[in-house]
């Protein structure tokens, strides 16, 4: 990019500047901090120059949007043709209540849905199971049957509005319900538009919502992926999560690295099943990330990960189709950076995150709400989060030019630096025999815990600043309105599920569960069609999950403490 003699001159002038005016300024006033680092600990210089990116080759390293290696974005015109999808994670109480919230958000301009399920639904328990006590409808919607799912989707077109089903251990049940409800409405699976999370590996290392041991969990996850890539071209059957790994404590770059290692494990598993790389790579190249807390680090990590994933697909997995190499990104602003003290400050944190995501070219956004540290959001809080996405999209002007930060010496240097760190994390995991082995050994869990602990120490000492919490904090307290799920929800749901079980065709239920059990006992049978059949026979989530528990057993916490 730069001529050698020009670089030499810049270097000479830089040295002069550093020895002269910089030293003079430092004598007068020392720097604010002893050392400047990114959130993930990458040391930062005061300034970056052509010298720092002297080996950069524009066409090789950046190229144009929609061109390999996709550093600048995956589509030729990015937001000039279509803005990022705005989908706020939502769900609580009953299917009726959540359906009403979906409509509330769509009315205010939301362009996609993201479903939050309560913990019993996520963990495969019906509302009347003892483990579900107190949890029904609390952190998401309670869904046990296809009947519930119909209500959840009432008046919402399944082929026109895309959905992100945030289900993991229960993904097979929820996707089956989506397919079954589609069929009820006359949509073939190929018409359904959306995605599910289905990233079970990160449940073991970060989020904790696993049901079955690691291997059968991996089988279920890949059964969903395999079924969807064969039957549902508009469906992304997995979203690889950087998000929860960071939320569990890993720094931003480590979380990216571990999520890439997990993604490689999924790809290898699908290849083992005999699927050609180009038949599924596009559908699995979807990420859910925290876009923050630091502005430049988040932007550069996205650019670095996009480029690295393209290279991994092309060089490691020998993908040929350009689409196989395109990483698509669904960002959140992160719950962990949302403080309890002075919660309105969180609106600003969300805005910075949204701006970073827009500058980095993400495909979809979810901004965490300002009341995150208190409860699930009020209507007002979730609408404000949506408004943040809309103001960045329509008012800030940053969506008009693609990858506008490219070419900045700092941005390109940091992008390169992060890519190198990601490569070394992946190599480390590879050397242990891949992500599954690293998880079994507790390696990923230990890294996350160590970084979480380090983070908390930095917050305690003030090395990491949270304005209003550990800097400029006062004892002043302004209460905010918080959301509460109706206390009757649990009782209503328990009564409902009991009546439902009494009123359906229980012979059909038993037959469907029996077929599911027999299929589960055969290691090479894809369970998706059996689950779809069970859902259509009115089996409940708890019954299907229990049937599989009988075959697979349950998971132990690999806490690695």
């Amino acid at each position: 990019m730069f001529k050698e003699d020009e670089l030499k001159r810049i270097k000479e002038e830089y040295d002069k500047w550093w020895q002269g005016p910089v030293q003079k300024a430092l004598q007068k006033t020392p720097e604010r901090l002893k050392e400047f680092k990114t959130y993930s600990g990458i040391p930062l210089k005061a300034i970056y120059t052509p010298e720092d990116i002297k080996d950069m080759d524009y066409l090789r390293d950046l190229n144009f949007p929609g061109q390999y290696p996709y550093t600048r974005g995956i589509y030729p015109l990015m937001y000039r043709t279509r803005l990022y999808t705005m989908r706020q994670y939502s769900g609580f109480g009953t299917a009726e209540e959540t359906n009403a919230r979906f409509k509330f958000l769509l009315k205010h301009g939301e362009t996609g849905l993201s479903i939050a399920f309560d913990l019993p639904t996520q963990m495969g328990y019906d509302p009347d199971h003892p483990m579900a006590r107190g949890e029904v409808g609390k952190v998401g919607v309670s869904i046990s049957t296809l009947r519930d799912y119909q209500v959840l989707y009432r008046d919402i077109p399944m082929d026109k509005i895309s959905v992100h089903i945030q289900a993991n251990a229960n993904a097979i049940f929820m996707v089956a319900m989506h397919i079954a409800e589609g069929l009820n409405r006359g949509h073939q699976p190929k018409d359904l538009w959306g995605a599910c999370q289905n990233d079970i590996l990160k449940e073991f290392i970060a989020r904790g919502a696993y049901i079955y041991p690691l291997e059968p969990s991996m089988r279920l996850c890949c059964d969903v992926i395999e079924y969807c890539v064969k039957n549902m071209p508009r469906w992304q059957p997995i979203t690889v999560c950087q998000f929860h790994i960071q939320e569990a404590g890993a720094n931003h770059v480590t979380a990216w690295g571990l999520s890439l290692a997990n993604a490689i494990a999924y790809v290898e598993e699908l290849l083992k099943r005999g699927l050609p790389i180009d038949s599924f790579a596009f559908n699995v190249s979807v990420w859910n990330i925290v876009c923050g807390p630091e502005f430049f680090e988040a932007i550069c990590a996205i650019r670095a990960a996009r480029r690295l994933w393209a290279k991994i697909m092309k060089e490691r997995f020998k993908a040929k189709r350009p689409e196989s190499m395109m990483m698509r990104i669904f960002m959140g602003s992160g719950g962990f950076q949302m403080t309890r003290k002075e919660p309105l400050n969180n609106i600003i944190r969300g805005t910075i995150s949204a701006l970073a995501g827009a500058l980095a070219g993400v495909q979809a956004m979810n901004i965490q709400c300002y009341d995150e540290a208190y409860a699930i959001p009020t209507d007002e809080a979730i609408k404000l989060a949506l408004r943040t996405e809309q103001i960045v999209a329509y008012e800030s002007g940053v969506t008009n030019v693609i990858d506008p930060l490219a070419g900045s010496y700092f941005v390109e240097w940091l992008t390169n630096q992060i890519e190198k760190e990601l490569v070394s994390i992946i190599e480390e995991i590879d050397s242990m025999g891949g992500a599954l082995e690293a998880i079994k050994k507790g390696y990923m869990q230990r890294v996350i815990l160590q970084q979480a602990y380090e983070y908390q120490r930095k917050i305690d000492t003030g090395e990491l600043v949270r304005v209003g919490e550990n800097m400029f904090a006062t004892e002043e307290y302004t209460p905010i309105k918080t959301f509460e799920v109706r206390p009757e929800v649990e009782r209503e749901r328990i009564e409902w599920i009991k009546q439902f079980r009494a009123s359906r065709d229980n012979k059909k239920v038993r037959e469907a569960l029996d077929k599911l059990r027999k299929a589960a006992e055969k290691p090479n049978e894809n369970l998706m069609p059996y689950v779809i059949e069970a859902v259509r026979a009115d089996c409940t989530i708890g019954e299907m999950a229990d049937t599989l528990r009988e075959v697979f057993g349950t998971a132990e916490d690999i806490a690695a403490l």
Partner: protein, 134 residues
């Protein structure tokens, strides 16, 4: 032998264990014996573990909004078993629920945003009180 034997417990279905594990690590570094239950434990399992290990204090970590139900159940079962040790609660706890938890007998609540230093100090104070008593 540590200053106190602490059981850090993760009741129910909520898997968010960052707080539980970080507090476990911090208390261990501060010289406490800490047992972490791992995720997804029922209240019965937690009480069993507390009794079996003769812990001096129980810390519950709850982020899914079920702190009132779960804590009440734990307090009842501890009473039934005649194993009355101090209980501390941490997690996503709305302010208005803090007095309710204390009414149930919880000795302290550490909502998200609490400093590790303050948590450790609190446990140090508990240890001191225990030494004085014995």
């Amino acid at each position: 032998m540590g200053k106190l034997k602490v059981l850090v417990a993760k009741p129910g279905l909520d898997g968010h264990d960052r707080g539980a594990k970080v507090v476990t690590a911090a208390l261990r570094d501060a010289g406490f014996d800490v047992i972490y239950t791992g995720r997804h434990k029922s209240v019965d399992e937690i009480v069993d573990m507390a009794v079996k290990e003769s812990v001096d204090v129980i810390g519950l970590s709850i982020l899914s909004g079920v702190h009132l139900e779960v804590t009440q159940e734990l307090m009842n079962k501890l009473k039934e078993r005649g194993y009355m040790v101090p209980v501390v609660v941490g997690g996503v706890i709305p302010d208005k629920d803090i007095p309710k938890l204390k009414e149930m007998g919880v000795i302290e609540v550490f909502p998200v945003g609490s400093r590790l230093e303050d948590i450790v100090k609190f446990f140090d104070k508990l240890a001191e009180e225990k030494t004085k008593k014995s």
